[in-house]
């Protein structure tokens, strides 16, 4: 039975591809491809009926963003999604600093739905849609 939506917990963090992309330059294709994606558990992807590289919409109480879903290659992490640090992750992750100054970059409740027809915004498009510049 394919579900329309899935409740998950959002984690953000580093990947080696994101690291290589950021050193090459924030405007490079490497950086775009490595930060506008979202690792998902294979079982969770099955529940949503999506394949590798399908676009998904991830929504939290802070906003929503379209990303490319990628099956996490190294074992299970049911109920978790992992987005590498970058403007796309930060469009939706929690800004709650819990009184000590550091935002909660890991552990934000989120919802995932398949949106195979929706495009992923480029860096310029994303900034324009968010900040009008």
């Amino acid at each position: 039975m394919v579900q329309q939506k899935l409740r998950v917990t959002l984690l953000t963090g580093r990947t080696i591809e994101q690291g290589v992309g950021k050193e090459a330059g924030k405007g490079t294709k490497e950086y775009f491809e490595s930060t506008s994606m979202c690792y998902m558990d294979a079982g969770d992807m099955k529940k949503l009926g999506i394949k590798n590289n399908t676009n998904i919409r991830v929504t939290t109480s802070n906003g929503s963003v379209v990303l490319r879903a990628v099956k996490y290659p190294r074992g299970a992490m049911p109920g978790l999604i992992y987005i590498p640090y970058g403007p796309w992750a930060n469009a939706i992750c929690s800004s709650d600093t819990t009184g000590i100054g550091t935002p909660s970059f890991k552990g934000t409740p989120a919802e995932v739905e398949p949106t195979p027809d929706k495009p992923i915004l480029t860096l310029e498009e994303l900034l324009r849609s968010e900040f009008g510049r």
Binding site: G13, E23, L80, P87, C93, I100, G101, T102
Partner: protein, 488 residues
């Protein structure tokens, strides 16, 4: 003409590897030896098309090229007129530029903060509360026989950490486990080959259904072996976890519980439950045995602790665990610092103002209260009225709500490359790349200062962070003295 430069310090991550060999031809780096993927990416791409070539200023909504003089005057005007400006970034530049930054923050009464605030800020808070039993990476390289990575993935974020400082390094008293790891890889490759043959029906065997599930496995017998052991504790199986002797998958947000359970076991208490944070207690007992029986153990921790629920409390309990373990054997703990000079940013800020980050100079003297004087909170409360960003990209790495206020006010950016923050900026300065085009000093994650080399010339006319900041500071002082004269 080609020249080789030895012992170059890599200006990428907190490992600050200082054994990089560069070959330079006609003023361009053409070969990188010993570096990781990120290091190569930095040395090969520093001159690419995304480099800022001239200062830019926003005029009628568009960024247009201007001279350094005009941009410096504009930036100084913005900062001198601001009531509560933010000075943020600092972790990807040298200590020399950071020192000017502190002076500038004091001069204009701003909030000086560095990237530790979105990174290891909670660790610093914990260290200030409970202290830290730590050591340098050299000691770990030569002596550590148990290495635990908790909530961090050096294979992705600090690629050469294992090879230079921990399990895969050939120390004076402890050998490398690299061969063992290679054997494991070969065995697993053999298994994959067999599976592939079965799939192609060259070899026939009834296929076993592969069911992926959370892997909390029994500790392997090798946990009791002699030599270096590597344990990874994380919420997902990371690249580092794949090479580890033992991987424990903890439930998300439950590191604190797990750590407290380990503390209890180290103190020989009995636990009345079967499992903690998804890990059976009997496995934990074996883990604790390995910890207590090692000669010298070390825990490295990362964002898994500082960004998850509990934040500085997670680090607090980790340090307390080390204290307990030190009653039984020898243990140390180190945070995995991200940017190559974030440790330097904390150190410079501390020796100049007394505080490592989130320093507020608005009252004329330094005040420190993370949660209030930290830059994300200042932005969320919409209090700042200008910002100077040095060698950082908060528009990419801050939550959106904080960035909204950042870009609503005048924004000055000093960065070698075009990034999200520079795209949104009002005044953008190009800078020479520290560690490639400018020499300086940086602090490794274990607080060892290392020299950064200048290996090539910066593009013509491009100034360094330090020079740009010094000139802004000079100009701010001129503007302020003019204002004093006018008032008098």
């Amino acid at each position: 003409m080609s020249t080789t430069v030895n012992a170059v310090t890599c200006p990428v991550c907190g490992c600050l590897c200082d054994d990089i060999e560069l070959t330079i031809e006609n003023g361009v780096v053409v070969k990188v030896k010993n570096g990781c993927a990120m290091c190569e990416s930095k040395f090969f791409n520093y001159k690419n098309e995304h480099r800022n070539k001239t200062p830019l200023m926003r005029k009628e909504g568009k960024l247009v090229p201007v001279s350094y003089d005009e941009a410096i005057h504009k930036a100084a005007e913005i900062l001198a007129n601001a009531n509560y400006p933010i000075l943020y970034g600092w972790s990807s530049t040298d200590c020399e530029a950071q020192r000017v930054g502190v002076e500038l923050a004091e001069e204009i009464g701003g909030v000086l903060d560095n990237t530790a605030v979105v990174c290891h800020g909670p660790s610093i808070l914990s260290v200030q509360e409970v202290g830290i039993p730590t050591c340098t990476l050299g000691q770990i390289r030569h002596r550590a026989d148990l290495v635990i990575y908790w909530g961090c993935d050096p294979w992705s974020a600090h690629p050469r950490h294992l090879e230079r400082y921990t399990t895969f390094t050939e120390g004076r008293f402890k050998g490398s486990e690299w061969k063992e790891y290679m054997n494991k890889v070969k065995a697993s490759a053999g298994k994959k080959k067999l599976l592939s043959l079965e799939r192609r029906e060259i070899v026939k065997r009834k296929p076993e259904p592969i069911i992926e599930k959370v892997t909390v496995n029994k500790p392997p017998e090798t946990l009791g072996k002699a030599g270096r052991k590597l344990i990874v504790i994380d919420v997902r199986k990371t690249m580092t976890a794949e090479v580890a002797d033992y991987f424990i998958q903890v439930e998300q947000g439950k590191d604190y519980e797990l750590m407290l359970a380990i503390r209890a076991l180290v103190k020989d208490h009995e636990l009345d439950v079967d499992q903690v944070a998804g890990v059976p207690v009997e496995y934990l007992e074996e883990l604790v045995d390995a910890m207590v029986n090692c000669d010298f153990g070390v825990i490295f921790f990362g964002m898994g602790l500082t960004h998850s629920a509990g934040k500085f409390r997670n680090v607090d309990v980790a340090i307390s665990l080390i204290r307990d373990l030190n009653r039984r054997t020898k243990f140390a703990i180190l945070p995995m610092r991200g940017h190559f000079n974030v440790t330097g940013a904390n150190t410079v800020s501390t020796w100049q103002s007394g505080y490592p980050y989130a320093v507020d100079f608005s009252l004329g003297y330094p005040r420190y209260n993370p949660g209030e004087t930290s830059v994300v909170d200042v932005l969320l409360r919409k209090e700042s009225d200008a910002a100077l960003i040095v060698a950082s990209d908060p528009a990419s790495n801050f939550p959106r709500k904080a960035v909204e206020h950042l870009v609503a006010n005048p924004l000055i950016v000093i960065d070698p490359h075009m990034n999200a923050t520079a795209l949104l900026g009002d005044v953008v300065f190009p800078a020479a790349i520290v560690g490639i085009e400018k020499a300086g000093t940086a602090y490794r994650m274990d607080h060892v200062p290392l020299p950064l080399k200048k290996v090539v010339e910066p593009p013509e006319g491009i100034l360094s962070d330090e020079e740009i900041l010094s000139r802004i500071l000079e100009e701010v002082r001129v503007i302020k003295s003019q204002r004093m004269q006018e008032a008098a």
